[in-house]
């Protein structure tokens, strides 16, 4: 046995390493090594001139991180603004896309439905197209004389100038109920270089357009995930609840959703993580404008490094963002574990 085994398995160790070598070398050189290099750069004041590993590059320790987190100033104000923007973005995108994806999956999954294939393709179509191309499409749709404002005009609403409007949605809402000027208590006090009034602005009108775009593009993908899960729900379970007299809402709430719970959590997790990555759309549609209300940490990191040539601080922002994403992942894992027990 052992001889046959060694004959069949002969040379496997060498072959194994040869087989994985390309992947290991490339991921090592272009992923692991760069992360280590960036970690070094985030501790320096390198400005892009020459190599960051020359002796002349000033070593600044954790100054870059401090300027983002503990020292009052413009860098921290920008960074906290980007965090605020991304928080509102996450708060809106994740629930809306999850609900929309689940709703679409439930409708498309109905048995008596004709031409399911067409509808599934239609809903999935935006997911496969290039994020840059789709951002350009939405730039035109939300333009001043674009389709959205034309639609709003039909029902008698004067549409905003979407990508020049930095007013926060919560501020607009407060304005309509009569709070025209910010309360002094909120303006005079604040946290981390932003006043409470600024923290509570809500997503700006410009950000809302980007939120609409992202919900529109990602719902299709998540719909497919829900659809796969729904098709694994045995029909008998649903029929049993029908016989027990459960209405449509009760069936959804107490039968269907508990049956596809793992997928619901998967979609929420993926949403929670991917919404912190938003970059392409911001780059193409707004570049952080107007009034920094569409600035996100990912774009701020790019802009700080490649436009302001503050590579050290840019790298530091990347690492803080990475940390946020790791914490989000761990948090989700932890919540999942609590639910199970």
């Amino acid at each position: 046995m052992s001889r046959k085994r060694s004959a069949v398995r002969g040379g496997e160790a060498v072959a194994g390493w040869l087989f994985v070598a390309p992947v290991v070398v490339i991921l090592g050189l272009f992923l692991l090594l760069p992360i280590l290099m960036a970690l070094w750069v985030s501790l320096t004041g390198w400005n892009g001139q020459g190599s960051p590993f020359r002796s002349g590059v000033p070593f600044v320790g954790t100054d870059n991180y401090a300027s983002l987190l503990t020292e009052d100033g413009l860098p921290r104000q920008d960074f906290m603004t980007s965090i605020r923007n991304n928080l509102y973005y996450v708060l809106l995108v994740v629930p809306i896309q999850t609900a929309l994806a689940l709703g679409l999956a439930l409708v498309v999954n109905q048995r008596m439905l004709k031409s399911k294939g067409f509808f599934r393709t239609a809903f999935y179509f935006p997911s496969v197209t290039s994020s840059v191309a789709i951002s350009v499409v939405f730039l035109f749709i939300f333009a001043n004389s674009g389709a959205v404002n034309a639609l709003l005009g039909m029902v008698g609403i004067q549409g905003p100038v979407w990508f020049n409007d930095s007013r926060g949605l919560i501020h607009i809402l407060l304005d309509t109920v009569g709070v025209n000027s910010p309360p002094r208590a909120l303006v005079d006090h604040g946290m981390l270089s932003l006043t409470w009034w600024d923290w509570l602005a809500g997503p700006s009108v410009a950000m809302s357009a980007i939120i609409a775009l992202v919900v529109w593009t990602t719902s299709g993908t998540f719909m497919l995930m829900f659809l796969a899960a729904l098709q694994n729900v045995p029909q008998q379970v649903e029929e049993a609840s029908l016989i027990d007299g459960a209405n449509r809402w009760q069936r959804l709430r107490f039968v269907t959703i508990p049956m596809i719970k793992p997928t619901v959590f998967l979609v929420l997790t993926l949403g929670l993580i991917s919404t912190w990555h938003v970059f392409d759309q911001i780059y193409v549609m707004s570049q952080g404008n107007p009034a920094k209300t569409t600035l996100t940490p990912a774009f701020l990191s790019y802009r700080t490094a490649f436009k302001d040539f503050e590579y050290g601080r840019g790298a530091a922002i990347s690492f803080v963002l990475f940390l946020i994403i790791v914490v989000m992942t761990l948090l989700q894992r932890w919540i999942l574990r609590e639910r199970k027990s």
């Binding site: 390309p22 992947v23 490339i26 290099m37 290039s130 994020s131 191309a133 990191s301 990475f322």
Partner: protein
């Protein structure tokens, strides 16, 4: 799928069994069923329009004249039909070159990913060698690293190696991907090993077994990986942003983004 799953159980119980519940539910709720169908279709058609109409009007807009596009943004029919936009793209910009670049880069990356990912996936699934577990753990860890935090690191390394602003920089760093390795490993673990073992006993080398026996059997997974790789590299944008700055090396997404933030961006702010 749920329907096919229900049938075997029903067969076991008897032939008239599967018809019974369907008939019963139909009889009980015929008017409600009709209303349901109508509401269902209305929702579906509304969302199908929301998801597809932007593409329709963008296509129509590309054939509209400037004043027509501004005056009738919702109309799906260009009036008059104008090819000025296309002429400008093909004659006034590097669009044809970007198209060639995109095709080249995407083809090389797709071929590379399918080959290298399946090679590594196979080794991780089947071959016994020291360090296998560690490498697989590494692949999983790499999958968790978000691409956007790698922008500056990638630029640093390309700069350091002196390959910044070249086709090598566009292709080499993303010619393998951890997710592809993971998909292939999962696939190889799901197929029985008996065929390969027979080939090995007959004296074929490991690579020969992989190439002539394993790969032909892995067609479904390879097709999936090809589609994913093609789509991923065709749409890749952030990587091109830190790999090249010469317009002659732009791919389509990069060129398009450049057009928008340049000429179109200026036009937009004057609107």
């Amino acid at each position: 799928m749920s329907r096919t799953e229900a049938t075997p159980g029903a067969h076991r119980q008897g032939r008239d069994e599967p018809e019974a519940p369907r008939r019963r539910s139909k009889r009980r709720s015929r008017p409600r069923g009709l209303v349901n169908t109508f509401v269902g279709y209305s929702i579906l058609i509304f969302f199908a329009l929301v998801f597809l109409y932007p593409f329709v009007i963008q296509l129509a807009n590309s054939l509209k004249s400037e004043p027509d596009a501004a005056a009738n943004p919702l109309s799906p029919i260009p009036h008059p039909v104008s090819f000025a936009g296309f002429e400008r793209i093909f004659e006034g910009t590097n669009f044809p070159l970007w198209l060639v670049n995109s095709l080249l880069v995407t083809t090389v990356i797709t071929v590379g990913r399918v080959f290298f990912d399946s090679l590594a996936g196979y080794a991780l699934a089947r071959l016994r060698f020291r360090g296998r577990q560690a490498i697989f753990a590494g692949v999983i860890a790499v999958m968790a690293v978000p691409g956007v935090v790698l922008l500056i690191p990638k630029f640093l390394v390309l700069n350091q190696f002196g390959i910044y602003d070249s086709y090598t920089a566009l292709i080499l760093p993303i010619i393998v991907d951890a997710a592809g390795v993971f998909i292939m490993k999962q696939f190889f673990e799901s197929v029985p090993a008996s065929m390969e073992e027979a080939a090995r006993i007959d004296g074929a080398s490991v690579f020969r077994t992989y190439w002539s026996v394993v790969l032909p059997m892995a067609r479904p997974a390879l097709i999936t990986l090809t589609i994913l790789s093609f789509q991923g590299s065709w749409n890749e944008f952030p990587h091109t942003l830190v790999a090249v700055q010469d317009p002659d090396l732009f791919t389509l997404p990069r060129g398009l983004a450049d057009l928008v933030s340049g000429s179109l961006g200026a036009a937009r702010s004057t609107h």
